[in-house]
């Protein structure tokens, strides 16, 4: 390339560069800039307004000694573990059932997936009503004559997170089913023929052949479930608003409470940084396995 052309380098492909400005601004200013800003300010003592008055790890010490944060973490851990296992289990089972060449497959699929179109707020409010201790399931069973029946997850601090779990699973499991079904449809028909010839029962084929073959689908599903779990916020706000007391608080709600209600900005920043760290801990090994391995292999 000769020297006289060099000044044109910047203007080559100019339209494409101009058109990419929104993307570049979003990537650099909002995503990188915003995240860095928050992480940096989590080391300050900003309260009502963000200030660069560094106090080291004070905010993190306060965070981890706060009982509210510990409750939030515990709730998220319970919700996360249960929701991963149940979503995968329900999603895969439903997909396997639908994949048995049944009639009305479309109708069943439509029914399992429709909750996913609804927002978490709608989901939370619907289940709040169904789990209402006076008029909901508990009330109905008591009316039937079983006076001592107790089923009020939303009013019992010990199990409130499971009340939220029921709603969360209802909303999201259909989506996992769709992903699983796509995975099952991608499996070669010959494998089924081979196992049938061998006389291996269907359930055994699923466990020993199909599931190992669907490993990438399961990984994708897990990553999707996990990234949904960490965002858990609307559902809790709508269904219990963190109650009774603080028993159904979650980290995302903690962050927003401290940033926008309690006016303790840096505390919110520290909490959100912890959320970021946990996402990195989950994602980096996955990204390494998915993409790092491929490049070398």
């Amino acid at each position: 390339m000769d020297a006289s052309r060099r000044p044109n380098q910047l203007f080559r492909n100019l339209n494409a560069k101009l058109a990419s400005i929104p993307m570049i601004v979003t990537a650099l200013v909002v995503f990188v800039g915003g995240t860095t800003w928050t992480v940096v300010h989590s080391f300050t003592n900003s309260r009502l307004l963000p200030k660069l008055n560094f106090v080291g790890l004070d905010q993190y010490e306060r965070l981890w000694s706060s009982s509210r944060w510990m409750i939030s973490i515990e709730n998220l851990a319970i919700y996360g573990a249960c929701s991963m296992i149940l979503s995968l289990l329900i999603g895969f089972t439903l997909a396997a059932l639908l994949d048995r060449k049944i009639r009305f497959e479309g109708a069943f699929r439509t029914i399992f997936l429709y909750p996913f179109a609804l927002s978490f707020v709608v989901t939370g409010l619907a289940w709040q009503w169904i789990l209402n201790p006076d008029f909901g399931i508990q009330g109905v069973v008591r009316d039937w004559g079983w006076e001592g029946f107790v089923f009020d997850p939303l009013n019992n601090p010990d199990i409130v997170i499971f009340g939220i779990l029921i709603a969360g699973i209802w909303q999201g499991s259909g989506f996992i089913m769709v992903i699983m079904l796509a995975g099952l449809r991608g499996i070669d028909e010959d494998i089924w023929k081979a196992t049938r010839v061998e006389g291996i029962p269907a359930w055994k084929t699923y466990i020993q052949v199909i599931i190992p073959m669907m490993r990438p689908v399961f990984v994708t599903a897990l990553v999707l479930i996990a990234s949904g779990i960490i965002k858990l916020y609307d559902l809790v706000v709508a269904q219990t608003n963190g109650g009774p007391g603080l028993s159904s608080e979650v980290p995302a709600k903690y962050v927003i409470e401290y940033m926008f209600r309690a006016q303790n900005l840096a505390q919110g920043f520290a909490a959100s940084t912890m959320m970021l760290v946990s996402v990195i801990i989950i994602l980096v090994p996955w990204a390494y396995l998915e993409f790092g391995g491929k490049k070398r292999g």
Binding site: I102, A117, S119, K231, L265, A271
Partner: protein, 303 residues
């Protein structure tokens, strides 16, 4: 089957597959399970509809599963036009209008920007374009909470904090990673010869985009639209943070109506309001059918 082979070991049956009996044990188990599970999925919708058509006295006496003895549409009217949030008593209609005003520009803007981005990334790569794209995709995994406050500051700086246009901008930004990925992958799959032929004929960046790429990829635009309409309509987090009571979207207003501590709880009105809010995505879901599945699958599984 065991019986038959025992009794007639040399039976000469017809060759070919055995006709399936409709009520085999396998089918009863299969359909039985599916129907029971379907009931769990349908239950909340059924309960919401039934509750929203009852009067309050009937709700207090009856049980939530029984169909209404006397159908009344009053709760729906009340939810739409009279329900109170704070001092405003003009019902969900206000939230609905806000949501529409947020939805339309957000969908148009986010799809316009993301499709051009995807087009540039697929056909007009420049130095660094892949780097920015990678950052964008990684950004999709960052919890929103770490970006919420810096965006408040940015919106305040440009004077859009609390306004509908501020929220439109936020939706455009956060919709960008997934939509750009969607469009980039789709445009990459369009044969390159087409692009080259247009180049030879003298078409430029925008010419090729408008005359070739857009007309050839209408299905993916529909998928993107479904993805965005449901996503933006269902948003709560951004709505509650970046708008003020007058501009609250429908989901935020719904939550305020139902979870307000003052007054007597009117469960029928609450359920009517909840259904009203869920109606838009539900209609899109039932009308779009397979495309909806494609949309969310595209949003989920890369490529």
């Amino acid at each position: 089957m065991a019986d038959m082979t025992a009794n007639a070991p040399v039976l000469e049956g017809p060759s070919g597959p055995k006709p399936r009996r409709r009520f085999s044990r396998r089918n009863i188990f299969l359909y039985g399970t599916l129907i029971v599970v379907s009931m769990y999925y349908l239950l909340p919708l059924y309960v919401m509809v039934v509750t929203s058509l009852k009067g309050m006295p009937e709700i207090r006496l009856g049980n939530i599963f029984s169909p209404p003895m006397e159908i009344t549409y009053e709760p729906w009217v009340k939810a739409w036009a009279e329900a109170c949030t704070g001092i405003n008593c003009d019902g969900l209609s206000r939230g609905f209008m806000n949501s529409v005003q947020i939805l339309v520009p957000s969908v148009v803007l986010s799809i316009a920007i993301a499709s051009v981005n995807g087009y540039a990334l697929a056909n007009w790569r420049f130095k660094g374009s892949e780097v920015f794209f990678t950052i964008l995709i990684i950004g999709a995994f960052i919890p929103y909470q770490t970006m919420l406050y810096p965006i408040v500051i940015m919106l305040r700086e440009i004077g859009l904090m609390g306004s509908i246009w501020g929220l439109v901008l936020v939706h455009t930004v956060f919709g960008m990673p997934i939509l750009t990925l969607l469009f980039r992958n789709y445009f990459t799959s369009i044969p390159e010869e087409l692009f080259k032929a247009a180049r030879v004929d003298g078409a430029g960046f925008w010419g090729i985009y408008l005359r070739i790429m857009v007309p050839m990829s209408l299905p993916i635009f529909v998928v993107a639209m479904i993805l965005q309409v449901t996503g933006i309509w269902n948003d709560f987090l951004f709505g509650v943070i970046y708008t003020k009571p007058e501009t609250y979207p429908m989901t935020v207003q719904l939550n305020n109506i139902v979870n307000s501590v003052q007054g007597i709880k009117e469960y029928n009105v609450n359920m009517a309001a909840t259904l009203l809010t869920g109606l838009v995505p539900l209609i899109i879901y039932f009308v779009s059918g397979k495309l909806f599945v494609r949309g969310i699958a595209a949003g989920a599984v890369k490529g």
